[in-house]
Amino acid sequence: MRPQAEHCWKLSRSLAIARRPIGASGRWRRRERVFSSPASLVLFCTFILGAVLGSTLASTSAAQEVNYSRPVAAAPQPESIGADYQLPAVQHVPPRGQGQYALDVVLLVAAMAAVAYACHRGRRRMLVTATTLLALGYFGFWRQGCVCPIGATQNVAASLADPTVGIPWVVIAFFFLPLGATLLFGRVFCGGACALGAIQDVVVLRPVQLPLWVDRWLGKFRYVYLAAAVWFAVQPAPARDFIICRFDPFIGVFRLSGTPWVIGVGVGLLALGTFIGRPYCRFLCPYGGLLAVVSRFAWRAVSITPDREIDCRLCSTACPFGAIENCRASRTACLACARCFASCPRQHAVWNGETACNIGPAPLVELSPPPREPEEVLV
């Protein structure tokens, strides 16, 4: 037993103190921390003793042959484990498939097409409301806010500035498709496809009209925000920051988690949005600034009335976003919500099939004079 004990002592010393692998195969070195206490050292010595005894006895008796070669340098596979062991499924989940990204893009295009149809052909607020609610549900609460064109602005800027920055194709599609749609039909993305716009649109309850100059000047802040976002996005890698995503006020509401003060700002904006229509879209949204520039050259602009203006100013009071100036829709400010249609008398007359009420000069109605009281009854 003397040589084996000595062997044990050397092993324990080299494992616990020198922490050096023993033997050419290095098969014991994965045990090193186990032997920090005497009890495990004893256990290990017994283990070694058994192994040595087993190997010496193995030549005489095959029944004693036990595989003590673990811990091993390579992972044991099912055939060596035996007993019909099946590897459990490794819990890998593949990333989102291309089809799901394509679905996002298709739904974005469909939402913008629905709003464009509602504003230019169908002239129905109902369709815009339905699209808004669906966009809020899908892009907002189901997809939880990412990907959105507002944040994609930064990805595009970063990718243009730094060639090593890759950009997923779905982000490219989300950035450019709304811009293209705006060049055709005005800001139809804002009208019903944007989740951030949608969550503000559903809380517009008692809108008040802001003075025009307040609207104009606060609206300038969008471009300051856009410039700052692009500036931070094009910085080289360690300093790069996506401030639009960092300070996105509604993403915390969609996810019900996030930085507390940013969620507070989001809830505050929603509270403000009950009487000032869509404050984020009008005064903060950097992508809205881009869309406003592009929408100035839109191929088709939203027209309030189906045929001719009668300058009744009912639409101006109905618009919560101050987008109607002098009874005409401002292309850049119009968010394509179709609220003005609902208040337009011409719309009701021409579009809702109420031609029976005849919008021309009102027909003269012969009013019969009131019956005269008999005067000289008592005389």
Partner: protein, 205 residues
């Protein structure tokens, strides 16, 4: 030139400029496009997976703490085909703790008790060291703190447990809050083919 034709001219010119800008920018950007929009952990950058940081006290817990989800989308994943199936797994047991009467360390490493240990194959009831053990990670409990990942690597383990982004949970934030906080920029937007199980390039010093 009358007023209306001038207006029309400017409108057409503006449309042309906008269209050219959009198409040009799109053309520039499309050449750098990726197929996927996913975040993946580069195992050669993660300080918990990569070798060089020692001990559970120096574990990097950014993945567990900074995700926008209440329970992080980054979880520890055990690749069973790589698992050494040790009796005393350094990722399961706290090997610094005292050894109990059964010869096993008395404490578990995982603070959330998310790893399930069971003997597999032909079980030898008399000698625990003679058995293979399967270590299943309960993904409902794991929060990706990285302690087990830190322990299961050379020289104690084979490196079968790694931190991975669970794509069924990940929200694919445009600005991943973990990536912002990651000390080694290990969490990166992956390209065409994410390979979270790629081999480690460095050996333990």
């Amino acid at each position: 030139m009358s007023d209306s034709t001038r207006r029309e001219f400017f409108e057409r010119a503006g449309q042309a400029v906008c269209l050219t800008t959009l198409v040009g920018a799109a053309g520039l950007v499309v050449r750098r496009s990726w197929a996927l929009d996913a975040w993946a952990i580069d195992p050669n950058r993660c300080v918990n997976i990569r070798l060089g940081v020692n001990g559970p006290q120096s574990v990097c817990q950014k993945c567990a703490e900074t995700c926008v989800l209440s329970l992080s989308a980054v979880r520890a994943v055990n690749d069973h085909s790589q698992c050494g199936r040790c009796c005393i797994c350094p990722a399961y047991f706290d090997v610094q703790s005292t050894v109990g009467p059964d010869g096993l360390p008395s404490k578990k490493l995982c603070p959330r008790d998310a790893i399930v240990r069971q003997p597999i194959g032909e079980v030898d009831p008399y000698d625990p060291l003679n058995n293979y053990y399967e270590y299943l990670i309960d993904e409902e409990k794991c929060n990706g703190c990285g302690r087990c990942v830190m322990e299961c690597k050379d020289p104690a383990g084979l490196g079968s447990i790694r931190l991975e982004v669970r794509y069924d949970l990940c929200l694919r934030c445009n600005r991943c809050s973990i990536a912002e906080e990651c000390p080694e920029t290990a969490l990166q937007r992956c390209g065409a083919d994410p390979q979270p199980r790629s081999p480690l390039v460095s050996a333990h010093a």
